[in-house]
Symmetry: C2
């Protein structure tokens, strides 16, 4: 199996949405990503937490088969984020960010981590993402994510990173801001000209767009009557996407990339159905595949020859 290395945040999130709230829930990009990707391939998590990080959270991650050898405990407090979502589930209002131990996060990869064939550089300082990448031996697939904070504060470092990346994930707002375009397709074109052969633009409740080479592919979202907590949707999407690709072991085939998009949507759809990691903690592959096939049925268009003919002629 093709192991995935993920480098990112492990956090305690305080979140308020129209559906309720949670205080100091397990969160962070590497957490969400790992809990999604582990269903498909072995995952090695590299991150840092403080001395206050509840041991049951570490146990939870380990018990689900995530290699936490790279999850260091540093003196100080765990990274905390708090935010609020209004009716528009696509954008959070950040109420507070306390980097705490995450401020001095300088990951040093061990031999096993450096040899991982797939790496996901979750949303951290792009200079740090490049530093991590420089430590990798010869990854078959390099993917990354980012956020508006880095797009605004370190655009050049981000572009430098993108020149070495195969798959770039962004939400629509971020992609347009980064590329300075008003249309997501034009944004993806600009971004891919900087390096990534695959650009994935997530539109939240409106689905996603993928650019591979010069062609755009489009994906509807799994239909949900309610979104409880959108936190982590992007990272569970990336986890399902890269997990599916790592399991296939084929990284440049449009068909596999399309399946990866569908698995990303499915994992994200489970995640937003409850607060924090509650709903993805106890998923199993059977439920994932059930929804995967359900999604495909809901979005597939059959060929005429497979469909019923009229029962009788109708007069015009």
């Amino acid at each position: 199996m093709n192991t995935i290395l993920v480098v990112g945040s492990v956090a305690l999130d305080t979140v308020k949405t129209p559906a309720g709230s949670i205080a100091d829930g397990l969160g962070g990009s590497a957490t969400y990503f790992s809990l999604a990707a582990r269903h498909f391939a072995p995952v090695r998590l590299v991150g840092v937490v403080g001395e206050d990080f509840p041991s049951e959270h570490r146990t939870l991650l380990s018990e689900r088969g995530i290699d936490c050898a790279g999850l260091k405990t540093a003196k100080g407090k765990t990274f905390r984020w708090s935010g609020r979502y209004g009716k528009d589930a696509n954008t959070a209002k950040t109420l507070a960010t306390h980097l705490n131990v995450f401020k001095d996060f300088r990951p040093r990869l061990d031999e096993a981590q450096r040899n991982s064939p797939v790496v996901f550089l979750a949303n951290i300082d792009p200079e740090l993402q490049s530093e991590v990448l420089a430590q990798m031996k010869a990854p078959a697939l390099v993917a990354c994510d980012t956020m508006n904070f880095w797009i605004d504060s370190k655009p050049e470092a981000l572009k430098e990173l993108l020149s070495k990346v195969d798959v770039f994930f962004a939400n629509e707002e971020e992609a347009k801001r980064l590329a300075r375009k008003t249309n997501p397709m034009l944004a993806a074109e600009t971004i891919s000209s900087w390096g990534p052969s695959v650009v994935v633009i997530k539109k939240g409740e409106h689905g996603a767009l993928m650019k591979v080479g010069n062609r755009f592919y489009i994906f509807p979202p799994f239909p949900l009557p309610e979104i409880k907590d959108p936190t982590g949707a992007g990272d569970t999407f990336a986890g399902g996407f890269l997990g599916s690709l790592a399991a296939a072991g084929v990284y440049d085939d449009v068909g596999h990339l399309k399946r990866a998009m569908a698995y990303g949507s499915v994992l994200a759809s489970f995640n937003v159905e409850d607060f924090s990691t509650r709903n993805i903690e106890n998923l199993d592959r059977e439920r994932i595949d059930e929804r995967f096939h359900d999604l495909l049925d809901r979005m597939s268009v059959p060929r005429t020859q497979d469909l019923p003919k009229p029962r009788r002629a109708v007069a015009a």
Copy 2:
């Protein structure tokens, strides 16, 4: 072939969008619908224009095979609408509506019109829609559209109409407003409880949702780098949808309904690429089918067994 009767407006539209503008361009719900549906099935148009309606517009419709026997000319001026779209292509700001001859529109169907197997009651007063429907003999499929004006002013007449309708088209905003729900799925559930077995909710540049029985199907939009003029997108969508169904002659099969959704998306995508009816005036079935198959390729997810295997084992 199963003829489609469409009853609705034929108008002269003055439209401004970020991409440009047009004055007194050919428009109206029945116009857009007919120009889309005619590629699939014979179309009979019922509407009214004023004495100022340019003869070349009538010629255009007739030359494209649309039966205009039901397009009456009344004393007075043609219905005029003018609107402006901002960056958000999904919602128009109406600048002026002059009903003119449309104010006294009271369609009386002739024998051929009454026998049409498929009828589309485009956006007009729901009481008038019901009056038209009462004149029909035994249509195999009844579909309708509406707008916020009627949702707000005649909700009971609209619900009465819906109890006799098979397919209801609405955009997301209208559906939520009509059903008094904040989520499009919940809105579709409420609306279908009033009658329609098929509810189609259009989300503009974000695709569409279809409820059939108790199940939701989801469709991404055809990806376009620019939308020049969204006017008529909903009616061309309905035209492609009902045209495709009428051609199939099967009205209750999910597979055919899914193909209808895809044809609806394709026709709408052509329409928004230029002002007024410019881009759909000269379409042919070959270009439509080319984009239909292109759309299906962009949104299809292949099965694993059809995909390439890894070329070599990759060390974990």
